[in-house]
Amino acid sequence: MSTVTSAPAGLGDGQDTVTAVERGAVSWRLVVAAVVATALVVTLPVGRSQFAGIMWLWALALVGIVGCNLLVPLSSWTGIVVKWMTLAGCLAFLVVFPIGRSDSTLLDLGLFAVFGIVCIGTNLVHGFAGKVSLAQAGFLGIGAYVSVLLDDGREVAIGGMSTTLPNVPFLLAIAIAGLTSMVFSVLIGFPALRVQGPWLAFVTLAFNLLVFLVLNNEEGLTGGSRGIRIPRDDVDVFGIDLFPSRNYYYFCLVFLVAAVAVVWWIVRSPWGRAFKALRDNPARAASLGVDIRTYTLLAFSIGAGLAGVAGALYARLIEFVDPRGFYIGQSFDFFLATVVGGLGTLVGPLIGVSFITVLTDRLRVAGDYYRVWFGLFVVVMMLVAPKGVAGSFNLLRARIQKRLHKRLQSRLRQRRRGTRETP
């Protein structure tokens, strides 16, 4: 949360020259350290080096970045510089890391980007507007199937009628997929608005089940449980061939960055405040003029729209769709990833998604027991860090900042006493 609210922290606004100088010196060192650490994180993994020393260095650099972020006051200029640099570093990493990687790694990264978009939406609905939605996999499925059906002039049959669907360019298909999910979310949003808390979760879950059943049973439309193969070889956007895994990964990454930017814009705008008011206390929000029905529908449909767009990307990423990919279990995965990563934070969902995508692959050594481990991990996380990874990070930073501030003040007091005694 604290990354979003942009109020200046009360850490003394340089009324005292000594503090300003002292803090300035510390700040510069921190900025330099953060620059070096970020550069190392971005460049070290390039070239698939398996040399253990480099991996250690890399881990050290990662710790360095995290440390720098913990040590800077959030809204001082240092904090802003370090924060933006870390963001730029992460982005650079996501751009540089895939160079020279295998197709399977690129697939995992692609899943990270696609599911990241979904969880950013989940986070807007749940973390900011406070509504539990367990239908995100359903919206993902709607988006995926819409984009698949709008390719290649498919013939579909529903209830005895059959038509040929138009062949729509990929980018347009993505947009239509997102819009279709949005429309469905508004349709179920109206009745769902009448219920709160766990009951809303049940309603959304039931909707997801409904989507699954339709996808599974309407064979004329969706191909049923056999699924549809949807090769990527004919897709190019603005003359760029998206068939190579790396190109397609970059394509997904662009959407991920755009999704983060959109949600960032929304939560820092007045809408973000209204969403948070809705989460904290809907009755009070309404009494202050917040139209809770419209805002809830907005949050819901933006979340669903993002999932729909992600669905269109997902279908071409794995080049195959079948209903099982959009079962309610997948919704729970998105939910858990968002919660574990940190509700109501911007990076939280992405951290959570990295757990369910990239780490899934790395932990495949655990075989079928992987899900057991993941479940245990979630339980432990909720006990130790109920605010998720990003939320705990913010709490830790606040605590460190408080202590640093106290120490700085006491040192300053000592120095003042010293100067007074010397003459």
């Binding site: 609210t5 814009w265 007045p270």
Partner: protein, 263 residues
């Protein structure tokens, strides 16, 4: 029957000044219990109206009917002569009916400033415009002035949930004012506030009333607080309107004495 007469006299006696909110024959039942029974009164511009009565006499239910949290079974609510009885709460709020709740209600995860900005922002511009406006919507000055007025300046960037009860109460009250409403309904503003801060709270309300011409209706249990503050007092008993009058009239009325001491 005597209640109906006193309703009418209540309306007639105080017909000086422009009527802001007009409550007409409001009735609300829960199951077999008539929580509010045919209550009518007017709220005039620039006055402080006290609403008193023993526990369970329907004061809060009446407020909830006026502000839209409940839909009354019968009767009308008019704001500047416009019937708002069927409007949802947020629409009434935008039209100028502000309130606080009996239990403290602030947005705990937000800073004091953001609480006040939230309370003000929905009254400005359209929803679509708000998405593309600057995050502070040019509200900083207004919000800071109000924070200053409620003596919360040193806490402006603090998370509202971290404030003490009394400070949250001040913030809660301030949130009702930030949009410049036509009438403010305060539900037990003195509840749970320590005596030292009580005078402070009274001062704030009187200041807003006299210097800004703000109109108030105040539900309160603390008699001393309300008699020292209100221009006019409405007394409820078992959902019905017992009488309306100046604090002195109400204090001297045998029926009121009976309700509070005898009954």
């Amino acid at each position: 029957m005597s209640t109906i007469e006193s309703v009418d006299s209540g309306v007639d006696v105080d017909s000086d000044g422009e009527v802001v909110v007009s409550v007409r024959h409001i009735t609300k039942s829960f199951g077999g219990i008539r929580a509010v029974d045919n209550v009518s009164f007017d709220l005039h511009k620039g006055e402080i109206l006290g609403v008193i009565g023993p526990n369970g006499c329907g004061k809060t239910t009446l407020f909830n009917c006026i502000l839209g949290q409940y839909r009354p079974d019968g009767g009308r609510i008019e704001l500047h002569g416009r019937d708002v009885s069927r409007w949802r709460p947020h629409r009434r709020a935008k039209a100028g009916l502000a309130r606080t709740f009996q239990l403290l209600q602030v947005f705990e995860s937000m800073s004091v400033r953001d609480n006040l900005k939230t309370a003000a922002q929905e009254h400005m511009g359209s929803m679509g415009r708000r998405l593309f406006q600057r995050p502070d919507m040019g509200l900083n000055d207004r919000v800071d002035r109000l924070i200053e007025r409620f003596r919360l300046a040193h806490l402006a960037d603090e998370r509202a949930g971290n404030l003490s009860y009394g400070q949250q109460k001040l913030l809660d009250t301030a949130m009702a004012f930030v949009s410049g409403p036509a009438a403010v309904f305060l539900d037990e503003p003195a509840g749970g506030v320590n005596p030292a801060m009580l005078g402070d709270l009274k001062e704030r309300i009187r200041d807003l009333n006299q210097n800004d011409g703000m109109t108030f209706a105040v539900v309160e249990h603390n008699m001393e607080f309300i008699f020292g503050l209100a221009d006019r007092v409405v007394v409820l008993e078992q959902g019905r309107l017992l009488m309306t009058g100046t604090p002195d009239e109400v204090r001297a009325d045998p029926r009121v004495l009976e309700v509070y001491l005898g009954g």
